[in-house]
Symmetry: C2
Subunit: 447 residues, 2 copies
């Protein structure tokens, strides 16, 4: 326990001593509609180059779940100019690293390289935005890779299977109820044509955000972006980004998932929760506090009541991430202590929530959480890659540069009354799913 504690302490001291470093952010849009964000940070001669597409798993056509993630893999199959594997090879040969990721709301590709290699990264990324070549063999091979990835990450992990079933029960209509990696049976049917159709529909400069962060000047980035991304034609047929929204959730849901591989049973409850919206981030900010107050570490409400006072829980947690295009979830976890049943653990959770709603926020705890949130923000801004990620993700989810800039201030303005109001709106059982992960019979496979 010493190391993290010490580190946190250093953080607080730094925070108390140093003013928050302002990010030096410039943004503009190319004539073809591609948004560009430049974050200057000249402390090291490196640059992070990211292209974020405003498309993710929640934009997939029904019955083709996993295609966004599949395409992310296939983007490394190369073009005529830069054949398969060459992006990663070139990046590595230039001493850099690269990666890609897919979420519900975006798909992103990034490289971290020496600052003088930025142009090469743009050349690579602009080329594969338009010129991806895919053989039938590539598709079959990569589909097997992804099925194996699903095996390892989901089928072999009861907690992941449990999470999939819970999400599906949480969302009655919205595609956030479908796993990002895709349902296995649907992954198995994904075709080259599915991938190319998704690529042609969504991979276009007017659906992309370029983020360049590090030892660069905005004018130089603008010139390079114009040279490499500027010539790409925008898509004239970009779909309007609306997903099926949730109907009123009027019945509390519960589910039980049993698996012989479960080592530690637990209770998890999620509530449908609002997300950050452009110009309206206040509720999300209050919920960010609420999650920290209830479940953020050993001084939180749940830890104090359930782990230390009543000793009914081994571990408690609360989580919320407002970074989403549509309604997201707020979650609570209780891992019962030996001899405590899941029902007792859940009852203890409900009792703690009821007390919290009745008693309100302890000011000392609130101040500590505010300090933690401020410190986390300062660390994030101090890391060029994290900072680039923040802007890219936010813009890809429909937020604006000013929303990202304003977020620390919105967080700073949150009051205990805001938190309690948000909590009262949130904790409506009709919009919740309570899941029990249990050790038990093997799940029957129905396919």
């Amino acid at each position: 326990m010493m190391l993290p504690r010490a580190a946190a302490l250093v953080g607080l001291i730094l925070f108390a001593v140093l003013p928050a470093r302002a990010e030096n952010v410039t943004s503009f849009t190319l004539d073809n509609g591609m948004d560009v964000v430049v974050i200057e940070d000249h402390r090291a001669p490196v640059v992070v180059h990211m292209v974020w597409y405003r498309v993710g798993a929640a934009d997939e056509p029904p019955g083709h779940s996993g295609i966004a993630h599949f395409l992310e893999h296939l983007m490394f199959k190369g073009t005529d100019k830069f054949p398969a594997g060459s992006v990663s090879e070139i990046v590595e040969a230039n001493g850099g690293s690269d990666n890609a990721f897919t979420s519900y709301d975006y798909t992103a590709y990034f490289q971290r390289v020496a600052a003088d290699r930025l142009e090469l990264m743009m050349e690579l990324e602009a080329d594969r935005m338009n010129n991806l070549t895919l053989s039938e063999k590539d598709v079959v091979t990569e589909r097997n890779v992804i099925l194996e990835e699903r095996n390892q990450r989901v089928e072999n992990d009861p907690a992941a299977l449990f999470a999939e079933q819970r999400s599906a029960a949480q969302y009655l209509n919205h595609p956030y109820g479908i796993p990002i990696i895709g349902w296995r049976s649907e992954i198995a049917e994904l075709s080259r044509e599915d991938a190319l159709s998704f690529y042609r529909t969504y991979y276009a400069p007017n659906n992309a955000v370029l983020v360049v962060a590090g030892d660069v000047k905005p004018d130089a980035v603008r010139a390079l972006a114009r040279k490499h991304y500027g010539p790409l034609a925008p898509s004239a047929a970009l779909p309007v980004r609306t997903r099926p929204q949730e109907p009123p959730q009027s019945a509390e849901r519960r589910l039980r998932f049993s698996d012989p591989r479960v080592a530690q049973p637990y209770v998890m409850r999620t509530y449908l929760a609002p997300e950050r919206d452009p110009g309206a981030q206040e509720t999300a900010a209050a919920l960010t506090y609420l999650a920290e107050l209830l479940g953020g570490g050993t001084t939180s409400v749940l830890a104090q009541k359930l782990q230390f006072d009543s000793k009914q829980a081994l571990y408690t947690s609360a989580f919320y991430d407002g970074n989403a295009l549509d309604d997201t979830t707020f979650g609570l976890v209780v891992v019962p202590a030996p001899g405590v049943s899941l029902q007792q653990a859940e009852d203890a959770l409900d009792s703690a929530l009821a007390d919290f709603l009745k008693d309100g926020v302890n000011m000392e705890r609130f101040d500590r959480v505010r300090t933690q949130i401020r410190a986390a923000d300062i660390y994030a801004r101090d890391n060029v890659q994290t900072s680039a990620h923040r802007y890219g993700a936010a813009l890809a989810m429909g937020l604006r540069v000013e929303d990202v800039r304003g977020w620390p201030e919105v967080l700073d303005r949150v009051t205990p009354a805001d938190v309690m109001a948000a909590a009262r709106d949130l904790f409506e059982r009709r919009r919740s799913v309570t899941g029990w992960l249990m050790k038990g019979d093997a799940p029957e496979v129905t396919q």
Copy 2:
């Protein structure tokens, strides 16, 4: 109680005396791909004329739920040749009746008229298959009609709201989890363009089944169908009919729905169940028996145990309908007697199911159910409209004429062992949703 009992008795006597009337069915396909089924019945000079489209609510684009049903309404707005309301007026003026209905798997339009008016019906129906005219005003007016229909049928009926939430929890991925009438918020956004796009995509002779039943000769129907439907061009871009299928359902789900308007609480459990498939109707036949054995009337297993023996229930029921393109549900209902809690009612249900799985089928009960199923089939075949409906629905759901013809025999071949095997496969809690409808606080409206 006297009347239905007497009627049932007459049925059994009739059945014992008369052989089943064979249906005189002819089927063929027009050059443009339109399937035609003719059922001759010359006992009365009437004809039933039906057009079934192989499209329903489960084929809707995501986020546009209700468009199939909305279009069904809009089909009465008329064409240049037959303006708004004229179909129904002409039918009525000719002494007939007409109607239309939308299910998950089909949308159908039918008229019942004097046999010599058949050609006029074809003229009307062929015309509106291609030439529907819709004004913006029609769309706005009819959308309000449908929102009001939803108010009356769903929003004002807690059992219907409960059913919607249960279905959404039953299906993790398949559109059967979305209400046929549509989510209110999505109905409110349906546009003229949505309706016309759905119409142009799916309303075409190669996506339709014509059923003509009554006092007609196949050759005459063929000549008329060629004359009126024959000239319609088939759609070259008919989508392949595949919906997102269910992933493995591996976590038992439960939900509670409370509403102050609930007069009588009850427990309802549904299990995911297989449907009738072309050439493979045996399991569906066994499940048809199972539903009758468990919940069909006062001599059923659940009625005997829960209503008469333990007196814990006021009413019990089991339901199953194998008429679906994709996996359907098998349901059980227990309405507890006064003083019996929903938990006790559910426990009694589970105990009855466990006994049934242990004890097997009582032969006397099985024979009675077989007789009832035979009798129901004979009545259905004896009614020209019911018979036409059977063929139309089956063909629109992907079954073939021979599947409909063979269904009574498949039902007749079911053995007690088949029923028990089907029951053992069916009653897997991981694929079930158990819902409690309770009297309680008003559901919060989240929109």
